[in-house]
Amino acid sequence: MRVELEAAYILHTRAYRESSLLVYALTAEHGVVHLISRAAKKKHGNMIQPLTKCYLTWSGKGSLLSLNKVELEHSKYTRNFRSHVQCLYIHELLLRLVPERSPAPELFDLYEQTLEKMLKSPTDEGCLRAFELELLAIIGHPLQLDFDYQNNLAVEAEQYYRYVPDAGPVLSAGLNQTWDSLTGRALLDMAAGDFRTENLPAMKRFLRGLLEFYLRGKPVLTRQLLKVN
């Protein structure tokens, strides 16, 4: 199989043997791919970097794919710390939650739009929350946020709820300290894609807990090690 000049973003690289690199990329048509770039520095110089839209040509059979060519489209390179950390964070989510080579063009569009927003306003945490929500939907866990599935009632802003993964909210007597406990207002704002509200900290805690649930209890390392977002 040979794929010619497919639009992609580099998510992560790891040194492999003396001069090769393992390259993890999000591509427009093939989803997340793992590629080996032999003699990486000699062949591609320093072009294999995140934050830059590139076009990758690769070939290979089975699980071993070789990166043959890299072309850069335009540079979004920044020295902004928050943007870098946010990128590390969403790259970790993509690499840990999205199976290799599961095509999802909408994921590529989502990544590109999120990157654009993040680089424009690095302090806007709302775009990260929106990314988390849409990512979960794309990988097969869409969130049902506005309907109490046990009582067959619409979620009400003034009530409290407990969220059951892959099911939805259930009416609850009050709020507690666990990630799955939140107000109807927060649920409805999330359902409407409104992340500018005062409920943002509650949404953050909720999505953090939900992501850890889908990561089988393993914490997101970027959060743990860099203590941000």
């Binding site: 992560h12 790891r14 043997r17 003396e18 001069s19 110089g45 320093n46 072009m47 970097q49 995140p50 934050l51 830059t52 850069l72 489209e73 335009h74 540079s75 390179y77 020295r79 710390f81 870098h84 950390v85 990128c87 590390l88 790259h91 970790e92 690499l95 390392l221 970027t222 743990q224 090690l225 860099l226």
Partner: protein, 199 residues
């Protein structure tokens, strides 16, 4: 390899720990060692075990040394006001050989990379913080690589430096000497353009 050559197999397997050495290369190396001067092979084995046993991290900068303090940190003729942060001993050597810098170093032995499980603890930032508290340090030069992880590392250390009211500087990014613009990658070109200086 035949099953009745366990020692030969062990030697081949042991050589495969080296970067870039696969099964075939390891076999060639093993046969070369056995075929050539036996004394030299024994010497290689002895040096490897002695080096692994005796070479540790410098107690001040974390570079490799067989003493408690490495030769750079023990050199009292260096400029104590400058401390340069590098990712690896090879970066230290590159700066020593390629620049006129004669201050001291701190070697991180990596860069912050959450996906690889490398956090502040693994880079010895607690020890770096102790170093920053020494009164003679005035400037901290952040010489981590210009990758995303290198920038994050520089920023985290930069924050630490600010805590002690010290000056922090970062290596410049731009057109390499002898580089022609049309052959420059877009990231380097845009960085060089954005950080242009008065001339």
């Amino acid at each position: 390899m035949a099953d009745n050559d366990p020692l030969l197999n062990r030697l081949i397997d042991a050589l495969r720990v080296l970067p870039g050495v696969g099964q075939k290369t390891a076999q060639r190396m093993a046969f070369h060692l056995l075929k050539s001067d036996a004394q030299k092979a024994l010497q290689l084995g002895a040096v490897i075990s002695e080096a692994v046993e005796k070479i540790k991290h410098c107690s001040i900068c974390r570079n490799y040394t067989e003493e408690t303090v490495c030769s750079v940190c023990a050199d009292l003729g260096r400029k104590a006001s400058q401390l340069c942060i590098v990712e690896s001993p090879t970066d230290l050597l590159a700066l020593e050989n390629g620049t006129g810098y004669r201050g001291y170093y701190f070697v991180l032995m990596g860069k912050l990379s959450p996906l690889d499980g490398v956090g502040p603890e693994q880079l010895g930032l607690d020890r770096l913080e102790q170093r920053l508290q020494q009164p003679e340090v005035e400037e901290v030069i952040l010489a981590t690589s210009a990758t995303m992880e290198g920038e994050v590392t520089a920023h985290v250390i930069g924050d630490l430096v600010k805590k002690y009211n010290l000056r922090s500087t970062r290596l410049a990014q731009g057109v390499p000497v002898g580089g022609e613009l049309e052959y420059l990658d877009l990231n380097t070109l845009s960085q060089a353009f954005d950080s242009r200086t008065d001339y």
